[in-house]
Symmetry: C2
Subunit: 239 residues, 2 copies
């Protein structure tokens, strides 16, 4: 994490792209970007990170990625010298796993890979319940969230979803689990009723993981950021 770096806005210039370096367009608190950073860290892939202000995207960024979202991975192709890029956290993560097959994060066995992919796919249910609760604080959203988490509690048969060590699925799910403290005003605490013990243990194990520790934004900074969002005055550059 490059601290002190500001999120670039409209009117800014795109920092020059260097050869032989991966660039990740990012927003410091974005859980989708975090997925890619976890993969990069787990595979020890060096990269440069450029922060984008998602409320006021630079004109040059919208040319690169018209939907205006992060993450976007960009680099100069070694052979053709063309600038290449890939959007979407899952597509970037799979690309990195294909490109750097050392420390492979997807299982090689097609059936195991498919089963873990189902867990990644269904995580949309956790995310919608999470965001609904974050915005509305409605208590029925608490039930939706617990319900969506039960599926993961039942699926967890080992220390990690990937088995004895974290795999792609663990990294793809993790950023939202780490963000549960942002829901504390709603009264939601993971496993408060003791019904999600395996998930609670998984969270503890994940917190100790090297890639998670290396890419973590300090809790107090995340809290300050969350507060600005809740006040309707999102400040990406809180320190």
């Amino acid at each position: 994490m490059t601290t002190g770096q500001k999120h670039l806005k409209s009117g800014s210039e795109c920092p020059p792209l260097k050869e032989n370096q991966l660039r990740l367009y990012s927003m410091r608190f974005c859980p989708f970007v975090r997925r890619v950073k976890l993969v990069l860290a787990a595979k020890n892939i060096p990269y440069e990170e450029i922060f984008i202000n998602l409320n006021d995207e630079p004109e040059w960024y919208l040319k690169k990625n018209p939907v205006g979202e992060v993450p976007l991975l960009e680099w100069i192709d070694r052979d053709s010298k063309e600038i290449r890029s890939i959007p979407e956290s899952l597509i970037i993560s799979n690309y990195l796993d294909d490109l750097y097959p050392e420390h492979r994060l997807h299982p090689v066995d097609p059936y195991l890979k498919a089963k873990q992919q189902v867990l990644i796919d269904r995580h949309g249910n956790v995310r919608s319940a999470f965001y609904k609760l974050f915005r509305s604080k409605e208590q029925n959203a608490v039930e939706d969230l617990k319900q969506s988490l039960t599926f993961y509690e039942e699926a967890l048969q080992d220390k990690f979803f990937g088995g004895s060590k974290p795999a792609m699925v663990d990294y793809m799910l993790w950023p939202w689990f780490e963000s549960f403290p942002a829901l504390k005003e709603t009264g939601f605490v993971l496993n408060a009723d003791g019904k999600l013990p395996k998930l609670a243990n998984w969270c503890k194990e994940m917190q100790e993981n090297d890639a998670v520790r290396k890419t973590k934004v300090p809790d107090d900074v995340v809290q300050k950021f969350t507060h600005t969002v809740q006040q309707g005055k999102t400040d990406y550059d809180v320190e």
Copy 2:
């Protein structure tokens, strides 16, 4: 396509599952199922097809797949003799491509694979515009659909999205393109204004493709089915 086979309902019994045979739970007109059938046909993989009535799912099917959706791929594992299954059209299609690497449908090159995956991912925009138009017949939905198709027109640089022959991306997109005639009452015709010539040509090429021809339901049967849906009296067993 097993003609004459009915879509199984509640109260039915699950036909016994045989060893050494893939089973596909299906609905005859489902575009998501069609994706998987295109992959199975393109790779010459034999399988058995069981139709499920999605308005009145058999109890035994809801045990296998609590979300009650098709497709679901099921088989008996050769070693453990356990029954295994995988849901979701994209996950099943990727699984089949991993399991049967002959006639690989995903490119081996990680960058090409990622670029084609973006086309598969963004197809959600075409589908939402398609269903909105099918239901509402609103003319602004026509504009949404044209807009979402422009992205594909621009992305099409060769005869197929996969290059000189169809790849996974072509098969994942195709079922909705084949269904455009279902929108004829809304006035929508692909490339009516001549602005989508490459897509129109792609459609012609796809219609000639062996896997497409082998898995196609005859147009008049599709029309009858569409009519029952529009009348609010969905009949999966029209002939």
